[in-house]
Amino acid sequence: MTEPMMINLALAILFLPLLGFLVTLLFGKRIKSIYTFEIAIIILAFVGAVVLLFTKLSYYQNTDIVSQVSWINLGNVPLLGNTTIDIGILIDNISVLMIFVVTLISMLVHIFSIVYMEGDRLYNRYFAYLGIFTFSMTGIVFTHNMLMMYIFWELVGLSSYLLIGFWYEKKSASDAGKKAFIVNRVGDLGMLSGILLLYTTYHTFTFSQIFSQIAAGHFPLNSEFWLTVTGILLFCGAIGKSAQFPLHVWLPDAMEGPTPVSALIHAATMVAAGVYLVVRIFPLLTSGALMFIAVIGMLSAFIPATIALTQNDIKKVLAYSTISQLGYMVMGLGVGAYKFAFFHLITHAFFKALLFLGSGSVIHAMHHEQDITKMGGLRKKMPITYATFLIASLAISGIPLTSGFLSKDGILQGSFAFGSLTGYWIFAFVGFLVAMMTAFYMFRLLILTFHGEPRDHHKYEHAHESPFTMAMPLAVLAVLSIFIWYTPNPFNPEQGAILSNWIKTPQLVTPQDSRFNFMKSELPANVAVQQVTQNSEVMYSESYTQALEGAHIPSLLLSLTLAGLGILIAFSFYQWKKVDVDKLADSIKPLYKLSYNKWYFDEIYGAVFVGGTLLLSRALAWFDQYIVDGIVNGAATVTRAVSRFSGKFDNVVVDGMVNGTAYVSGFIGLIFRRFQTGKVQTYIVLVVFSLVILLFIFK
């Protein structure tokens, strides 16, 4: 398979979903079964993705395939010469792996939805929306430049908006959609500013060109500080999209959307786009930027985990765990564990999608009951769902033999190594803490849902195992959550092809002195540039490799114990009822409330930002109506007042003496009119008088 063919294939994968979207949307009303077309499309896309993945990784493992066209031609710009704005696609290992994940999960979700969404009024439109989402996500994955990244970034936002608010009759749903879009926009502002900085400096959007120019020592505003700032600004986009602290508030609300959507967009793919962005721009991140990223990641891993401990809505718990896991990835990138972070992105995509679809099937069975306190004992009723859900829970808790164990342990290991190298142990510490919490709340969820006695018998009676089209995706994802696909040795991911050959840490292009020591490369810059362009394996330095080696065993043991501990606690609390949970909650009431109320983020934001903006806008509108207009307009009140002392005035005002001088000129007019008494002698007096004045002026 030649490179042009691969390009075409990639383009096909990109545009097929768009076609699906258009067709499904336009004919949705007339042809009832048009959704099948969309599904066929997505299956095609998936097949294409598999082919692409296979070819790329087996034949072009070390060469990136790029193809670009000029989108806009600015002509002969003064001082710059001929300028064009290019768009294009980049096929490298990262993108093909990502595209595989995206299309796979998208396909599974399509299939899952066939039954799940049955009988919905806008059945076809739902699939259309899925189509446009897949299109935009694919765009993000394939882009080779920042502009296209931003474009599809926004489009993803749109599709997310549409899908969250899919049941727009529900106010909560449309609210959630709006919230998601706007909160994302906040992040995008940062990203936009970053892009502006990049373009004004390098006059190109293409990653590779930007990198090579940076490597050549050309920085935004000619200072490394601004390079750091650029990195952070771009990362802001990721904060929004990947629901990182402090912009994480939209994701839980996004659960208003149909559950399969949550699985696809708000767990597996879209929210991962943020991480993907950081992966893409990784080379230009200075130590400062990386530190910032790591901190944000750490907070986003920790805070939601604490919240997830006490939530009762099955989807909410999963949502917070998603944020927390994304936090892991971001932190991983921050501490330089590039490979593990991306690896975790993939594995997490599978098992988190699985969890959501599982919860979907539960909710479906329970007739849209989402409160786990009303569930229980479902494992007899729905064995498949239970089994798969269990696997996923193990994976996310990082129990050996699962994919989750491999990737998550890698990140922990990375942060451990980071700590040992730089002395910032906090990341490692929080990482392990969160690992334990994760284990706890996942099993709390599992137990409350599937174990024990049913709490709501009525609903329980009607519960039933889901049909094949819903069970099959669960099965597939469950299988993908086993270690074997990634590495032969369940305790060392490094031995698997995916980490050893496919995912490679790119060479940094940042100047040596603005890197962490362990990232300083022994290679001269120009070679570095070479290597960036062909994405060849780079390890930062000997010290780092050793540190990583050293970190392997301790972190492994630590994480295992903590995870086990978490599970144990969960069981003792909810399965064997060793401890009275409520009493415990009471004993630490403030903490409990804090966690239960999600740290009051929504309340605070609602009051400060939303309220503030609305208040400001009201104030300004008032200002506009009464002050600005008033100044120009002769304040209404004044004119009223005047209108009393002169009957005509109001009339005249209404008649349109509206300009600013209305009042004044009217008044002047009044004065002049006073002279016109109709008595001829008055006139004479005035004439003589003014004559005298004139004479005095000119004498």
Binding site: M657, I668, G669, Y683, V687, L695
Partner: protein, 503 residues
């Protein structure tokens, strides 16, 4: 000696053919009036015929410039020059149109039996104006001014039994009498200072020996009172609103155009001939620095236009509103004089043509509407747009032109005034004038609002307009629109008629 004097008398008479023709017309009118006691329908046509002859004679001698009735070599009482001739033409045409007005007007029809005196007086008035436009001697100035005034006093109160008319005439006569009296006093002082009544002589005398400042200023300001009264410049304008509102519409129109034109002709001539020292190649006048006329006129003109515009904001009677607007326009016209340059004079002339046409048009429409509605109150105009579309649209055109928006002739008039100002670097004045224009929009547009935007309160019967008036309106509208787009002839005319005798 005797023959010589005879020849030169004949020569002089040759030069004043138009005036002679007018006098003959006057006599004719009186005679016809006497002869046919019953039906005097074609009295006006006699008058028009006479005027046409006059116009012909004027055009014939348009570009000649000479003295008539010379007292000493090239010092005459009467000057014949393009400048004067232009104003005479303007006045003559205005008169013709006003006669047509009168034919259509109901108010005049009332006093059908007294048409004879009406037209006789009018012809007397126009004769006076002609003399005003060409007099170079203080005596003649006073006499002609009085001639105009006396006839207009009577005409203002033509309908004896109308309260408004008689009141208007009384105010007019008292006010006019006093202003001419004051002027006369000024003249007497000037005579005392210089010992001559001939403007050229006075000029040369001033140039020769520096006359005493204060008394001279007193004299000239006092003289200005008379002219200010005629052109209704503030602060000598007080008669204008009352008289305009009071008198019959044709007369109002006549006063607002013809006598104003005559007044301006007189004023310009007086200022230029009496106080000129030299004219520089760029056409700017250098006046003798006995009195700072520039500042004087700036003050007067700004005062006039501001006062006119702002007072007009309040009017509910259409005639009164137009009265104030004509005061405001007097202000704009005076701006042309403030520049003290030929360019300014040219601007004034252009503006006058335009102003004449559009103002006559406005008054005509008002009169036609008054004939139908029997009211000049703006509130009664509500919904006229649907009742009498043609009248309304034409009024709209005239008012827009008076506001000075393109593509109407009014814009061209204003444009040239402002160009003159900017060329003379009098930016501040220009800004004030422009802001005045904005203000003026209020009241003009307010009339249109009543006509088009308001729904009629009373019953809506469609008002018919006679063919004659339609034709007549079209005649007036055409130039308003035409000159707005193609004004070369206008400017050429102005250029050919700015040359005053002697300069």
């Amino acid at each position: 000696m005797n023959t010589i004097s005879l020849n030169y008398l004949v020569d002089s008479l040759k030069l004043i053919k138009p005036e002679i023709a007018l006098s003959i017309t006057l006599v004719l009118i009186v005679l016809v009036d006497l002869i046919m006691n019953k039906d005097k329908k074609f009295l006006p046509y006699v008058f028009v015929a006479g005027l046409l002859v006059t116009v012909y004679l004027l055009i014939e001698q348009f570009s000649t410039s000479a003295f008539a009735f010379t007292t000493a070599p090239n010092l005459g009482m009467v000057i014949i020059d393009p400048f004067g001739n232009f104003f005479k033409l303007l006045i003559a045409f205005a008169t013709i149109i006003v006669i047509m007005f009168s034919v259509l007007s109901n108010e005049i029809k009332e006093g059908l039996d007294r048409q004879g005196e009406y037209y006789a007086l009018m012809s007397g008035m126009i004769l006076g104006m002609f003399l005003m436009a060409s007099s170079a001697d203080l005596i003649l100035i006073y006499v002609s001014l009085e001639l105009v005034s006396l006839s207009s006093y009577v005409l203002a109160g033509f309908n004896k039994n109308h309260v408004r008319n008689s009141e208007a005439s009384l105010k007019y006569v008292i006010y006019g009498g006093i202003s001419s009296g004051i002027m006369l006093f000024g003249i007497s002082i000037l005579y005392g200072l210089t010992g001559s009544t001939n403007l050229y002589e006075i000029n040369s005398l001033i140039q020769a020996s520096q006359v005493h400042g204060l008394t001279f200023i007193v004299a000239s300001v006092l003289i200005f009172v008379g002219m200010g009264f005629k052109i209704s410049a503030a602060p000598f304008h007080f008669w204008t609103p009352d008289v305009y509102e009071g008198s019959p519409i044709p007369i109002t129109a006549y006063l607002s155009i013809a006598s104003k034109a005559a007044g301006f002709a007189l004023l310009i001539r007086f200022i230029k001939i009496t106080f000129i020292q030299s004219v520089d190649p760029n056409g700017f006048w250098h006046l003798l620095n006995v009195i700072d006329w520039k500042t004087f006129f700036i003050i007067i003109s700004i005062l006039t236009m501001t006062l006119g515009n702002f007072a007009a904001l309040w009017q509910n009677n259409m005639k009164r509103l137009l009265a104030y607007s004509s005061i405001a326009h007097a202000g704009y016209l005076l701006l042309g004089l403030t520049v003290l340059s030929n360019e300014g004079i040219m601007a004034i002339i252009i503006y006058f043509v335009v102003y004449g046409i559009m103002n006559l048009g406005a008054f005509l429409v008002v009169m036609l509407i008054a004939n139908k509605l029997g009211s000049e109150e703006i509130d009664d105009y509500d919904g006229l747009g649907s009742k009498a579309p043609f009248l309304s649209v034409s009024l709209a055109i005239f008012l827009v032109s008076l506001t000075g928006l393109p593509p109407t002739a009014g814009f061209i008039g204003k444009l040239y005034i402002f160009m003159a100002l900017v060329d003379a670097k009098m930016i501040a004045v220009a800004v004030i004038a422009l802001l005045n224009t904005v203000v003026s929009l209020y009241y003009y547009i307010r009339v249109l609002k009543h006509i088009f935007l308001n729904d009629p309160q009373k019953e809506t019967q469609v008002l018919s307009t006679s063919v004659a008036s339609v034709v007549f309106l079209v005649v007036l509208i055409t130039p308003v629109l035409l000159f707005g787009i193609y004004f070369t002839p206008l400017v050429d005319l102005a250029k050919s008629s700015i040359s005053l005798m002697g300069f």
